[in-house]
Amino acid sequence: MHMPLEDTLGLNLLAANQHQAEHNREHFDAWRLLCLNVMSSPGAGKTSLLERSLAALAGAYAMAVLEGDMTTQLDAERLEAVGVPVVPITTGRSCHLDAAMVSGGLKLLRQRLDPAELDLLWVENVGNLVCPAEFEVGEHRKVALLSVTEGDDKPLKYPVMFREAHCVLITKIDLLPYLPVQLERIEAHIRQVNPHCAVIPVSATSGEGFAAWHQWLAAQLAAIAPAAPTALIPPRHPARLPARRPLPC
């Protein structure tokens, strides 16, 4: 007899990606590193930010980069010049990284080094303000970049990205004197959709704002230490915690 049936699933549409993301995060936690997912539109300055931050922090932290954005070999060389391994992730034609791609990148990374020796893993996502916001890769923190040249309306036009971010960096602020945009207005629009995230204006050209940005990073690293566990990140086992070195700035 034909019986129409209905199963209630109540499952996240992206459950398959979510499972892989959680698996990645378990690895990150076992390796006791902080993973950042860096996202923005193309050209907002992710690579320039990384270049400056890696150079400034290389003496303080052991770091690696999973590079999902389509960059030239020159970009990778620039980043590797400060002694930070860069692993490209093959995204095909995808407009975002997903957890499985990052898992593939981790396999390549492990051929080069032991991730347990890292403090910080940067994931540079594909330049896109829409898709990456919905696909977790296992990161502990999402960092979104918005350059002043993109205009102050972007947080309202692409609200999900800015809502999801733990930290929004307003980049290229050295160009502000030449643009009809106001920093306060950009920040206010970010706050409209995400009142409590960190908002830090920076310039990778002048270095302005990088002290505050690196302080934010240090706070996130400290937050994953058992001395100051947060609700956002599961506490770690004290026995395996590596000593944190002080930041240079």
Binding site: M1, P4, L13, C95, E134
Partner: protein
């Protein structure tokens, strides 16, 4: 076109669900999704990619039914719920407060599956009655 990747995720979940019924193969007529308006999903594109993706699979012919879920915020100052409007920068009309608490609109959920079994004679559809 991240809807393609979302459809891929959905198919993986559906395949896992099918395995729960092995060796029987459920014949799915409808898959019900809840999609919030404060997500990066375009429902029409999701339906389109679904139709293409399920062709010649065990889900061939299954319809994807999307229930839109509106964005509803709660003003943390006065506790009133409201419909955040991008034109008003998502602020609450009551207290002009930023969009702090989201009550609904972030849903991306596979709610339910309508199906029947037709692989077993006992489960087969009754033959069409001759006119």
């Amino acid at each position: 076109m991240h809807e393609v990747d979302m459809t891929r995720c959905l198919l993986l979940s559906m395949n896992a669900w099918k395995q729960q019924h092995e060796p029987r193969i459920p014949r799915v007529s409808r898959v019900h999704l809840q999609v919030g308006s404060f997500t990066c999903v375009e429902p029409d594109q999701l339906v389109f990619t679904w139709r293409v993706a399920v062709q010649n699979t065990w889900l061939d012919g299954a319809e994807l039914v999307i229930e839109p879920v509106p964005l509803v915020g709660r003003c943390v100052r006065c506790n009133a719920t409201y419909s955040p409007d991008p034109e008003q920068a998502y602020r609450s009309p009551c207290c002009q407060h930023p969009m702090e608490e989201i009550v609904s609109g972030r849903e991306l959920r596979i709610r339910s599956v309508d199906y029947a079994f037709s692989d077993h004679p006992a489960d087969a559809l009754p033959a069409a009655t001759p006119a």
